[in-house]
């Protein structure tokens, strides 16, 4: 699957593409929503490591505008449930991710992103 938890970690790795290579931009996506178990301990621990702006922008590309532009100071259950939905319940099934810098296209098929590169593209 490509959920936003994974998307927030992926970056373009084409040879020489070292800056502005994150976050990858979604293109022509089909998404599915699936309920996942809510785990507040996980979310509280993961929160400080999220690239927040990338998460907010990417969620908007997928049509979800529920996250605040700034990470809130007070972390309550309502916020964690919103975060849970955005990170773990939106599945990108088909489409692609495009590097904002070099425009390399990483296809997504049956929920699996293809991050393989040809020999000459490898960094």
């Amino acid at each position: 699957m490509v959920r936003l938890i994974t998307h927030n970690l992926l970056a373009c790795h084409v040879r020489g593409c070292n800056s502005n290579n994150f976050p990858l931009q979604f293109q022509d996506v089909q998404i599915g929503l699936r309920e996942a178990e809510f785990n507040p301990d996980f979310l509280r621990g993961f929160l400080p490591k999220i690239e927040w702006n990338a998460l907010v922008d990417s969620a908007r590309q997928l049509g979800d505008t529920s996250l605040p532009a700034e990470q809130p100071v007070m972390i309550d259950d309502d916020f964690l449930k919103t975060l849970h939905h955005v990170l773990l319940e939106i599945h990108v099934e088909e489409g692609a991710m495009v590097c904002p810098n070099c425009k390399h296209v990483y296809p997504i098929s049956n929920g699996i992103p293809n991050m393989l590169l040809a020999d000459h593209e490898i960094g």
Binding site: N39, R44, L116
Partner: protein, 297 residues
Amino acid sequence: MPSDVTTVSVSGNPDEYEDEHVHTVYDEIAGHFSSTRYKPWPIIAQFISSLPAGWVGLDSGTGNGKYLPLPLDRPGQLWTIGLDRSINLLRIAQTVGQKHREVVLGNVLDVPWRRGAFDYAISIATIHHLSTHERRKTAVKSLLQSISPDYGRALIYVWAMEQDSLSKRIIPGGQQTGETQVVTDKDKRGVDVFVPWVLKEPSSNRSNIPARHTSHQGTSPLTIMHESSAKAFNRFYHMFAAGELEQLVIEAAEDMNIQLGPKSTDSSINAGVSGIAVVQSGWERSNYYIELQRWRI
């Protein structure tokens, strides 16, 4: 002489060699292979159990994803993302443990991530499928570059020349043993072998194999027809010698310009110095393993 394992010498382009003797094989045998791989090894389960809630990890060479559901006693407190080169194994890993998992098609030589984005990484029974020393070192470097330079933790397992007496396999040049081997020679290298996988029935996945793989004629060692219904696939392995995995880590640290050893407590050391500590290493059930932790001052 057991019919099992035979030594080979690697030749040609290593990418193509691994495509033929590793990736294509796993794509063909994925279903059968997965049905035999379900039980996590104890040291790996312990390692993952020791990690705090909220950590995100990479399983580099996840195969059928059997480590993705861990820790079983507190599910959902960690997220492990599986990377593999075999799309058919990933399709199994995608729903391992009856839940949706995060999996990525990729090469363990690459770093398709924000550098240092993961809290931990494991690479279990994977690096031994790479066909040159240089590529095995690159895989270790890629793993270390994926985890936090401040505290990231890693665990690597590879197959050993020294096989458990309970193991069914006998490795040419290896020893049967029940104990950890003493490191004797830092330049000691393991042995390159084919380990066959016999499919009793024709694979249902054959139509997924790209044409260029099926176009090999008689000379290809990829498949050998045994009987009308059984087929043997030769998987490439580099069986590690004692001390060789540690040596790979030493060379990877050198290449990355980071110190190897425990975090320095010397206050005269400049800020920004980084290193990697060996938490534990050893031999378990026919495998060598090493656990590492990155640190930065």
